[in-house]
Structure formats: structure tokens, C-alpha cells
Amino acid sequence: MNFAASPVLELTLPVWRSRFLLYVFVAGFVLLLGRAVYLQGLNNDFLQAKGESRYSRVMEVPANRGRVLDRNGEALAISTPVKSIWAIPGEAHPGARQLARLAALLEMPQAEIGKRLADTGRDFVFLKRQISPEVAERVASLHISGLFQNREYRRYYPSGDVMAHVLGFTGADDIGQEGVELAYQDRLAGKPGSRRVIKDRLGQTVEDIESIKAAQDGKDLTLALDARIQNLAFSQLKAAVAQNRAMAGGVVVLDIESGEVLALANFPTYNPNNRSKLVGTQLRNRAVTDTFEPGSTLKPFTIALALEAGRVRPESVIQTAPGTLSIGGATIRDAHVERSLTVAQVIQKSSNVGAAKIALGLSPESMWEMFRDVGFGSAPGLGFPGEAAGKVRPYRSWRPIEQATMSYGHGIAVSLVQLARAYSVFARDGELVPLSLVRVDAPPVGRRVMAPKTAAAVRAMLELAVNRDGTAPRAQIVGYRVAGKTGTAHKQENGAYAADKYVSSFVGFAPASHPRLVVAVMIDEPSTGRYYGGTVAAPVFAQIMAGALRALDVAPDRPMQPIELPPEGQEVKESV
């Protein structure tokens, strides 16, 4: 039979059936095409992300916190990476031996680790923070599953308690919490960045795709502080507080030309590297945040104002007999009764009656203005957290007795930094200089608050106070002329003056012929029976000033002769 004549071929099917099949296929292709266009062209973000997640990783780029340096580049605070160990409690099941070795490495009791790992309600628990990288490596070599490590920074302060109050410290997350660390947080803090990379099967980075955020290391901060002077100031202060069995003390050293704070020390203090047993009194940056009634150290300002107003001349004679002065029922006393004193001697012998008499010839408004002009009653602007402004009451509310007592530093409250800065006015020929905690490259512009002639006259009086016949013979330094003033004040307690509690202070500058440094010393509650500023604070001043002048290579302005002290028991006692 011929194949072509097969009857099967004769069979004719309806045309629509083949057409139908064709359309079905075409429709299928169109559908696939559409889907392909949709996935690859229109809505490809999701798949692209899925694909990328197989090989690309976002990596954290760490940033360092800036260092804090002293003016000569010595490192005072450095951050270095440490590790913290954390765990997922549900997943970490160390064996008994592993647990024992982990506990030994972390220096924690086993029971404590067990307790933290048993807390399965949480999925994140720190076992220990801030351990050294070497220990962390040994922990990692124990291969405990569910145990992870984090990179953190820890701040170290090599100088320990010496500069604690200036530097402050950072918390566990390397964020400043006190002092300079807090004040300059923005500048010191680094900004960690991140970048996207391609990693291969072995976990090696093979390609950099993009930098999402560039890491920014924190900037180094160069302080005005001189580590040598700071160290000297701190050790002398510490010795003086111990020797006088005092409650506390403070020292401020200023550079007169630049207004820089070369040293700022407080006692009691703390070690910023180990803050586990810290109490509030240790934390106080007394020289900046606490105020006290300065006592006689304010007399030179009253005298300066009287000189400026033309009321008196340095050689004018003031009647101080009989050593007391009654104003409105209250009595002002001198410790050392003289019949009459010149204005210069009022400073030299620190006479309260003399200062009060001079003050009563001045208007309250002008006195108030003088106090404000030299920086009392307003924050000194160092940039420290919690700077005290001190207290100068408005002159309208002053009674005559108050005006008289303010002339010798009672009824007014200042901080030690304010006092040191105010004395720079005499040292700088009448200009008040802005203070700075960070190094200053160009000398700042001061604000004139009194005539150069007045400042020079007061300087000469302050020099008299620091000699054999003044209240502070112990402030003398071999080889340098010193000018300064003692202060001894009763402390106020519950609104009244305590009979047996004193604040002893001394503020001065040297070399007197061309002043370079101001040093202010304050000793709070000396309790060995000696409380005069001239015996308690002046020797500390002399030690610090002598050492600082030598450290800065300041040329002597006096022959190198041993200093002269008055015979024992014949020192001029200052009025309290």
C-alpha cells in the first residue's frame, strides 16, 4: 500500500484546533517575556539585593578618639582598642573545663558566668567589657560557640591622679563625661565610617564597591597645660594638704602673657584609670567649680580703685588706731594694731581697718564695677563644665558695713581661677586677659580695666607684702622679685562664720620686674593650729613659683642671695 495514499492523511481536522494551539504557545511566550522584562528591567531591586547579599558585606571602619597632649606634646590621654566579650545565652553551652578556663581568663567567678549564661530570656549579655586584646585572643582560642567579641576603645591616662580634674574621663563607650574630655567631646570624638566590599569564599575582601561613610579620626587636642609645672603644683599641693591636715586645696598657674592655664591642681583627687571607688568630693574640680570668701587677697582691688579715683596716693596716711572700726553696730578689727599706716603699708601689713576706711570713701557702684571688671561674678570662660561665676551682690543692696567688709574680701565669693585671673590685671599693666585651656599661638588681646600707672603702684605695694616686714615673707624666692598677697578668711557655715575654720590663700606673680606667671594657692581648713595665708599657703606658692620659673627658663631679676625671714614669732600677722 502506498504510504501517501494512507487514509489517515485523508483525515481533515478543523483548522481552529491548530490555530488555538498556536495562540496558546504565543500567549505563553508573551507571558514569559513579560515576566522576564518585569524581573530584569522594571522591578529588579529585590533580586539585585538578594544577589548582592551573597557576596557583598558592609564593613565597619573604626575611628580613633583624638589624643590629649600637653603644650610640649607629651601624651596625657590615649585611646587604645580593647575587646569586650559577649554571649547569646541560649546558644552558649561551654563544657565544665571550658567554663573553668574562661572564668580564669576573665578573672570572674564561675558561678557569675553561669548565672549570666543561664538568663535565656535575653539574647545578648556582656560577660566582660574592656579586656586586653591578648586575653581576648586566648578567650577566642577556647572555641566556645555562642561567645563573641566586640572591638571597643579604652582611654588611658598615664599621669594618673595628677591631672585628673583637668582631663576628666570618658565612659565605657569612649564618650567624655568630665573635664576636657567632656568640654571638647565634639573635637576629640572620632566618627566611625562604613564601606561595602565583595568577599570571596574564604572571607577575604576582593573588591571595594563603595565607601558608604568615610571614617573620621578624632582630632588631637593640645592643652595649654605644662606637664612639668602641673606635676610640681600637684605634688606641692598634696604635701601641703597633708602637712596642714587640711580638708582640701587648689592651685592655679597662669601664663600672664598668653592667658594660658599652665597648671590646675586640686586635692583630694582620684585616679582616672581606676574609678571603681570614686566619691563626689574627689571629683570636685574645686579651683573652678567651688567659690570661697577670698579675704585679704581682695584688698589690692579696693586700693587700686581708690588710687584710680584719685582718693589716695600710695604714701597717703590712714589713721588705723585703735585697731578697730565700728560701723552700724559691727566692729572691724586688726590683728596687728598700728597708730597709722600709709596706703602701701595697709597692703603690706594687711590692715582691715585701713582697707575699710579707704573703701568707705568710695561709691558702692564704683566698687561693684571694679569687681565685675576684673571678672568676679561672671564665669571665667574656660569652657569647663560647671564653671562657677562667684557671687557679687548688686551694689544697691549694700549696707555700709557690707561695703567695708567687701573691701577686704568678705561677703563676696570667687573661685580660685577667677582670683588668679584678676591678679593678672596688676601683672599686665591693667589689662584683663581671657583665659584658655588649650594652647594659644597668638597672644590674646586683653581688656583694659585700670590705668598702667595704677597697676604699677599696686605691684610695688604687693612686692612690699612679700618681704621681711610684710605678711608673706615665706613667699620669697631666691633670685626673683615676687609680688603677692595673703588671704585668711573664716569659713561660713550655716550662714555664720565658724570660729575655728579657715581658708588660707596666697596669690602672687613673678618676676615682679617683668611678670610672667600668676600662681594662686588655696588651702581649705588647715587644722594644725596654723592658719595664716602667710604660713600655710605662701610656702607652697614659693615652691611652685620657683620650680615653674626654672622650668620655663625665666631670667632672674634679683641677685642669688638666700631669702631673709623675720625672727621666729615676730612675723606680721594678717587681720582675719
Partner: protein, 91 residues
């Protein structure tokens, strides 16, 4: 025509292989760069630690203690001091 096509095919294959090798080389070099950068970070960390160590050893209290106790150094007395001024020395 066929010959030209074959030639282009060979050129294409060569280019493709070249791309693969250069990509591979780029990646190995990049990995090396990455390692070196990591090393530089490590060295930076070590520098910080060494600086820390240096300033810990150079703490003034320690220097002073060694100077006075071990080396018996002290500040000279006033009468034994003599000041030499630069202008006098130049004369």
C-alpha cells in the same frame, strides 16, 4: 567572510581570557592592599600602646624618685648658683 568571522572569534576569546586574568590579578592585589591596610592599622594601635607605655615610664613622679634616690641628684643651693647671661658670654 567566514575567515573574518573566525578571526574575530579568536580575538574575542583572547579578550575574554584577558579580562578574566586581569580581574583575578586585580583581586589578588586588592586583597594584598587590604592586608597591608590592616597591618598599618595594627601598627597604629601598637604605636598608641607604645606611646602610652613611654609616658607611663616617664611619669614625673617616677623620674623624680629615681633622680633623687638612685642618682642622688638635688637642686643646688642658692649660694652655689651663678647665672650666665648670653650677652655676657658673647663678650
Amino acid at each position: 567572510m567566514v575567515r573574518l568571522n573566525l578571526l574575530l572569534l579568536v580575538v574575542l576569546a583572547a579578550c575574554a581570557l584577558g579580562l578574566v586574568t586581569s580581574q583575578h590579578r586585580a583581586r589578588t592585589i586588592f586583597a594584598e592592599l587590604e592586608q597591608e591596610q590592616e597591618r598599618s592599622r595594627q601598627l597604629g594601635v601598637e604605636y598608641g600602646q607604645l606611646q602610652l607605655e613611654a609616658s607611663t615610664w616617664a611619669v614625673h613622679a617616677r623620674v623624680e624618685r629615681i633622680a633623687s634616690r638612685q642618682l642622688h641628684m638635688r637642686v643646688p643651693e642658692a649660694k652655689r648658683l651663678q647665672i650666665a647671661r648670653p650677652e655676657e658670654a658673647a663678650r
